[in-house]
Symmetry: C2
Subunit: 439 residues, 2 copies
């Protein structure tokens, strides 16, 4: 299927129902920030304040945030904000001086990983983390071939945009990149693990046929941009075995599923009982502060570390570390992984209940507070209806978006402090919007 690079749920200038003030803001954006930026929704949302799962516009209207996975412990969480402010007022410098905070955080973070994954390196963005993994995989394996799923998104640096097919055909894939079908249980026949591993093996074979040594298979362990494929648990092992047998590494991109979102485990790879060679972290790590990282086995960094140094001016600075530490505090103190499991379970049950009354609700895939709801008409993907639902939800002040190669998967991914009452609110509004659309 052709991907012309049009972003799902992107604002189209000249359309929508904007106030004169917001029209002026859109014009200022185009003038100052140029043509490569996109806004969400037919009528973009103009926000001024955030608090927990709520976002507020200029007129004080509250929007239920059922989409943003960055502010994972809730928008503007006071414990996190206080940690940022206190450290920024005290000491903010980098990793070429000794300071305790980054080490305290590194050790605390690593305690959430299996002992084999015993190093962490700090970057500012998930893109930088994946880019560093790319460099390290090449240095360690001597290979240059990378395998990704066909609608994957791993970041925006040159190297990583080149392995992010979801950016569309305007962004060329790297010559050494091969794509495989995502493990969509509706499309792959037979055993899903075997079918996905066969895809990976075919990509390995094609790389080798072109004289390219495989370096790594990288997957988002919940396949966020491919449409949210959460299971069955453990099904990825044969694909990991295949890339290892070919001398390549397995990189788990946990930028979206990580930090407890899937409910069952802190990391998506743990849900699947995998042991990756490298694990990239990002979005929720600092609840919005730009901090990200790469966790890895010591043996894969040995070759790189022997001949190259790594320094990221802002990566692992004291404020980043203090902020990320506060995020772990909240995750633990407020039991957010468990909350994701319980509330996410109720959310999925509620959507299945709606599906019994709304024919447009096709297959649902969910793990914790990461849900992908297919929207269909007569059983077929319906991108048009999906867009209508997303925008009518926005008009009803509930924020979600859509994803997937056919643009028909509602992506539901709220802050982890989402409550049962928030689920009820969502389902009540969604029921009305579906009913109004005869969907």
């Amino acid at each position: 299927m052709k991907n012309d690079g049009t972003m799902v749920n992107a604002f189209v200038p000249g359309k929508g129902n904007l106030s004169a003030e917001d029209q002026a803001l859109v014009a200022r954006r185009a003038k100052a920030m140029g043509p490569a930026y996109r806004l969400f929704y037919e009528t973009p949302v103009h926000l001024v304040r955030g608090d927990g799962v709520w976002l507020y516009d200029k007129d004080g209207n509250a929007y239920l945030d059922t989409y943003n996975n960055v502010a994972s412990v809730g928008h503007c969480h006071p414990h996190v904000v206080a940690a940022t402010a206190q450290q920024a007022a005290t000491f903010a410098s980098h990793t070429r001086y000794l300071h305790d905070t980054v080490l305290d955080y590194a050790e605390r973070l690593l305690a959430y990983f299996p002992p084999e994954l015993s190093h962490v390196m700090f970057t500012c963005t998930g893109s930088e983390a994946n880019d560093l993994a790319f460099r390290i995989a090449r240095a360690h394996t001597g290979g240059t071939g990378f395998i990704v799923t066909e609608n994957a998104y791993h970041g925006v640096t040159y190297a990583i945009a080149g392995m992010s097919p979801s950016l569309g055909e305007g962004v060329p894939l790297g010559e050494h990149v091969r794509t495989v079908a995502a493990p969509d249980p509706a499309l792959m026949t037979g055993d899903l693990g075997a079918a996905f591993a066969a895809e990976v093996q075919a990509a390995i074979d094609d790389l080798l046929r072109h004289g390219i040594k495989p370096a790594a298979l990288i997957v988002d362990t919940i396949f966020s941009s491919d449409g949210v494929f959460e299971g069955p648990k453990g099904f990825l092992q044969p694909a990991v075995d295949a890339i290892r047998a070919a001398g390549g590494l397995f990189i788990a991109d946990e930028v979206q599923p990580g930090f407890g979102r899937t409910g069952d485990a802190m990391w998506g790879f743990q849900r699947h009982a995998l042991l990756p060679d490298m694990v990239s972290l990002g979005k929720p790590m600092g609840n919005g502060y730009p901090v990200a990282g790469l966790v890895l086995r010591p043996e894969v960094i040995a070759a790189f570390g022997a001949k190259a140094r790594y320094f990221n001016t802002f990566g692992g600075n004291a404020v980043a570390a203090a902020t990320a530490m506060a995020v772990l505090d909240v995750l633990e103190n407020e039991g957010l992984q468990e909350n994701a499991r319980v509330v996410g379970g109720a959310f999925a049950a509620g959507l299945r209940d709606l599906a019994s009354r709304h024919q447009s609700l096709g297959p649902l895939r969910a793990a914790g507070l990461f849900l992908g709801q297919d929207i269909v008409t007569n059983g077929a993907a319906d991108a048009h209806l999906t867009a209508r639902l997303v925008n009518e939800m926005r008009e009803a002040r509930v924020l979600i978006s859509a994803t997937g190669p056919r643009a028909n998967v509602l992506k539901i991914r709220p802050p982890l402090v989402f409550s049962m009452a928030n689920v009820d609110h969502f389902l009540t509004v969604f029921d009305k919007v579906l009913t109004r659309n005869g969907a």
Copy 2:
């Protein structure tokens, strides 16, 4: 000259005079963060607090910071910290919603640029800004060839590390990258502008001979890692003309010289009366908060913007924008560009005065508070003596470092709030250290 990748002024594990506590910290770092990280100095500094131009260790000892260009308006400046804290407590989200702060900042920042440079895009790091420039230059020109100076540093993503020869031979340059000699007035004969342009033309010719269309010449406009080459003003124009005649763009990397440091102008390219196609910004932009950006002419983003979108989750978030805005407030309210000019001038004069009494002080190059002081023995570069001076200054609690392809250039680059008294302090200590070394 071979560059084995050994970092100038790097700590060598097992050496130095560390306390038991710091030895333990170093061991924890190696265990948790792996082999690719480096510390400064024979005996690393263990810091806990920053205030203005001062950094403090655990025992309350104050170090005069004559090196850190990130905390450009001073460590932990209260106005900047307050802006970060206030915005983080209010709204922190990204550029796919309308919010005012990022636009207010974008417009205010662009007002410091010539009108031709009318778009700004936001990233988190200077590496990401240069990586985006790399992608845009390729899309706009259809070329793939890049030209950099022979000890340049532009960042750590895969694409940009491949055009950062200062990272050493362990980090391969891209196949489409050519290096040119830096404009060292001590090594280039005749007119410096013509000589540097001839280097660039030779690189263009070599690219073309290999069938590679040039995309861009990128230079740090004060050649920070090449040894600090600040002038003469205007000398870069012939090189810029050469790349443009070949269909390539000129990218000014202002990550180090930008935001008033050179005293004469807000941007290094303005000192040289150049009009770049793209300008990358970073380090001092948020005084330590991870924010960076790329300013560009609309015509160079047209091709990229028509077929690709750009989104950086944390880039241009509301907190980044509010923090960067506060940095501009301080730069203006405290007259820091003018302070850089005046205090930097006094600093240079003081070093020239010392040079009349210390034979090891060779050529000095300086613009505002960016100074490069060659250390020589019998007129020849002396990396060994340079390292000794850097480390003895550190023992005397004055922080500087060294750079250049021969590792003999003292890199002096303090926060812009550096005062005349700070200059006196530096010169007094430096005089003693030089005298003690018979240098």
